[in-house]
Amino acid sequence: MISDWFGIACTVVGVVFFFGGSIGLLRFPDFYTRLHALTKADNLGLGFVVLAGMVQADSWAVALKLLLIWFLVLVSSSTAAHLMAKSELSKGTPPWAKP
């Protein structure tokens, strides 16, 4: 019973983070700030959804599979974020400064 409510609460927090990430992607003024918003949605949003799934899982195998999915997305998205930022920086795009 309590795991049901905890699962729903964690999923709602994950949805909030995803909305924050996509609205930040629309509203931020610069590529680097948008990358920051995106990685927060990736890590925290998916992390909370996976936490909800792990609490509600039927067996340890399903819970570990969910954890593996989250680790995979973490590693790949953080590597990709570093790659994107480095390639954009080497092209000479200046970061946004407050006018």
Binding site: D4, G7, I8, T11, V12, G14, V15, F18, F19, G21, S22, I23, L25, L26, P29, D30, F31, R34, L35, L38, A41, D42, G45, L46, V49, V50, A52, G53, Q56, D58, V62, K65, L66, L68, I69, L72, V73, S76, S77, T79, A80, L83, M84, S87, E88, S90, K91, G92, T93, P94, P95, W96
Partner: protein, 94 residues
Amino acid sequence: MDEVYFFLAFLLLLSIVVGLGRVFAGPTPADRILAVQLAGTGRVAVLLVLARAANLGTLLDVVLVYALLAAVTQIAFVKIYSSAPPAPGNETDD
């Protein structure tokens, strides 16, 4: 209980669609690939919530494949984009 999860999956889908507006409006190709990355992770989250809502364990294997494909897409884009010349509209105005 399952209806709540279906509604949350719909909200996640809505947030992906909202974030895809950056594909139209991004001044550089890097902004557009950021929106595609958000869609990729959003796909993973939607499928995870749907696996809980519809009680389908096989969706988790599909999610693993999606996560790997998103990583490969991103690396391929960076490899192509970093050797291309800078885009002409590359100043930082809004």
